[in-house]
Symmetry: C2
Subunit: 240 residues, 2 copies
Amino acid sequence: MEDLIYKKIIHDLKKRIFNNEFPSMRLPDERSLTAEYEVSRSSVKRALSSMAHQGIVFKKRGSGTFINPLYLKSQSSFNYEGTNLGITDSLKSDGKKQGIKVLDFSVIPATENMKTDLFLNEDDFVYQIRRLRLLDDEPIMIETGYIPIKIAPELSRAIVEKSIFNYLEDTRGQHVTRSFLSIQVEPSNSEDQELLGLTENEPVGVMSGIFFMDDGTPFEISNMRIHYKYMNYSTFVSLD
Amino acid sequence: MEDLIYKKIIHDLKKRIFNNEFPSMRLPDERSLTAEYEVSRSSVKRALSSMAHQGIVFKKRGSGTFINPLYLKSQSSFNYEGTNLGITDSLKSDGKKQGIKVLDFSVIPATENMKTDLFLNEDDFVYQIRRLRLLDDEPIMIETGYIPIKIAPELSRAIVEKSIFNYLEDTRGQHVTRSFLSIQVEPSNSEDQELLGLTENEPVGVMSGIFFMDDGTPFEISNMRIHYKYMNYSTFVSLD
DNA sequence: TTATAAAATTGATGCGGTCCAATTTTAAAA
DNA sequence: TTTTAAAATTGGACCGCATCAATTTTATAA
């Protein structure tokens, strides 16, 4: 548990919500929470705002703060608590066995697109990493990633066989916490069909995007072609 | 333009970013902005946090706040400015002609799932609304929605032929600003193929979810089967 | 010149407060 | 009893301050 006050409040309120301490679905008002936790109202507000943003609660001026009934039902999608974005962490909780089969590990010159997206110079090179991801020995996605060599010059096939993001976290203390993602749908091509065991009219989900490190440095361009049965992206969307 | 200070700051900073007033990609530090805009530092921080959350900038403690190079490149995905979630608003900017063909408009008893998700009682009824959405006369998605009659008892086929969310906004001043969304991929079924003009091995994207009003009241369960060529969901993901 | 240490810069967290606006509750009036 | 008006409740916006931690810059020493 972090030692930040507002995170402690969030953590505690989540626990109390699941303990069914608020059967009316209404949280105590901000001023009471301020007294109860013996913190400033700002900290309480910060905690509640964050929870509202995550879709855990709804705030209604003049009335109170209320628990989203859906939060109690489908906690899984609300409770992403990894320190990294990326596949390894997101599949962790399922209790299933993850596998990675490296299809390609090479170095190529950056294309124009890569230069823009990864913020590279004229003669920069990138790793090209193609991997087949397995879940309980079933192939679930083909992942193609491009990482600037100058960001991780010591990358090796051995590292790539495990989680690249976790490696970065362990050795550099850097986390990959942000990503700009695009989700699309395509019929499977012959390679998809072969590697993922799909028939001709079984499609793939395509998730492509750029992953950033904490400080905003673009770290990787990634393209994932996902077996349609394993494709499930859930999110809480909120304007403002 | 809203009259909230932090929103004005966001608006102005966005403008200045596009005006290329920060060629170093670095924004002025928070204390300078505080002086420049003659507001409190809290307001500046609020604006910058929001922009960081949207992926417009990255903040780096001890160093400064930096513009995400991608923001300059692909503003479109960053600049959603509708007042409602939902299709009508998201397709608006493209300058293409929207069409709606109502396939079904009926009232049915709520199923168990609907009762939980829409917070309904034993004998509540819902509208079942099936619509085919067109873009420039091309069919792009089959949308099936369920709305509790008690929330919108005066709904009519005429309203349903246009935007339901906009109707709600105009008559009730309520906005649909939140949604819990799931994205999946499926092979097209025969109805998809017929209505969307797909062949057997052309798939659909499936977006299903619950839409909430400002105050957290669940308003609609929706299921959208989208022509794969028109399926494109972009988002900025950020842990914390 | 290079390496090291101190100082300045810059965002992060937290406190406490004022005033406001939407809503609900209570009291008063019809 | 019902309607209406006042009061209390509750979250929203904003201000200003103190202190901290990461980073960069500057000054000092080797």
